[in-house]
Amino acid sequence: MNDKKVAVVVPFFNESKAIFTVIENLKRYQVFHLIFVDDGSEDDSFDKIVKTTNVCIKHPFNLGQGAALQTGFDYALSKGYEYIATFDADGQHSADDLWEMYKIISTSNNIEVLLGSRFISGAFTNASLVRRVVLKLAVLFTRLTIGLSVTDSHNGLRIMRRDVVRSFNLKQNRMAHASEILFYIKRNKFLFKEYPVSIIYTSYSVKKGQSLFGFFDILKDLFLRKF
């Protein structure tokens, strides 16, 4: 396989505790080139990663996950990567899932985007009931507003061909970027599929991740963009 095939964009903010586990897992697959985007961390996570051989771009201050992804996308596109993946830094995602997703997208002619889903057959998640309900509401909202039939609209594990990423211009700096990505997929009629992935919530990732009330922030951000 071409050694410059997959750029894995990992945005992070104050993740010094979990980030090395993520690096270790992803580094098992040599085809993955890791692009870290430090979204203005205040801990020593940037100093730690910058000592490794991975790319690590630092925002001058906290801009939001959407902005960090766009920075990673811009870098990956400029370096000519054929596939670009997104991967969360808090240890929820599995590198094995991403590897399987890469194998599927790289051998298929009719998939341009492969989206991770924790709600289809074969997937696993230990999400709480309340979280499941909120995520289902987000899916319903996505179907109503964007018209894209997905089962998991806010899953950060996805792999895309470079032409797909080139069409992105993420304006939603914060968590609503997930809906914005789906909007671009729908608008450009990109061929997409969902792949069952496992999302493991630990006490760390729940504490670090988006709160359940974040759903209302996403609604607010999406609503204000309409004006």
């Binding site: 870098y75 400029s78 004006f227």
Partner: protein
């Protein structure tokens, strides 16, 4: 006094029109309130007539209701402007980050 007020409203309306030209939906929603305010200043009996028509009762109550809607729209507009500024700052900050990374490699 009412003519001074009218001049201010007309100036504000011209500002709104320039925002509307640039695609400002919120400014478009604010504009009818300004037109109504200008008409009411010229002929204050219209205010009472409209209030009566809408079942509000007194013209002064109608002004209060409209003021609340106007302020809500105005806050939304300020929010939108701040959001646009934030977008520009984001673009700039991202460009600086990428160029700093390339320079320090």
């Amino acid at each position: 006094m009412r003519w001074i007020l009218l001049v201010f409203i007309l100036l504000y309306m011209s500002l709104l029109v320039s925002y509307i030209k640039r695609g400002g939906l919120i400014s478009f929603l604010i504009l009818p309130f300004c037109i109504f305010a200008a008409i009411s200043i010229i002929n204050d009996s219209i205010l009472s007539a409209v209030a009566h028509l809408l079942g509000v009762g007194r013209g002064v109550d109608l002004v209060l209701y409209f003021l609340i809607i106007f302020l809500a729209l105005y806050i939304l507009r300020i929010h939108k402007l701040l959001s646009e500024q934030n977008d520009l700052i984001t673009v700039l900050a991202r460009k600086i980050s990428l160029s700093e990374y390339e320079n320090t490699k």
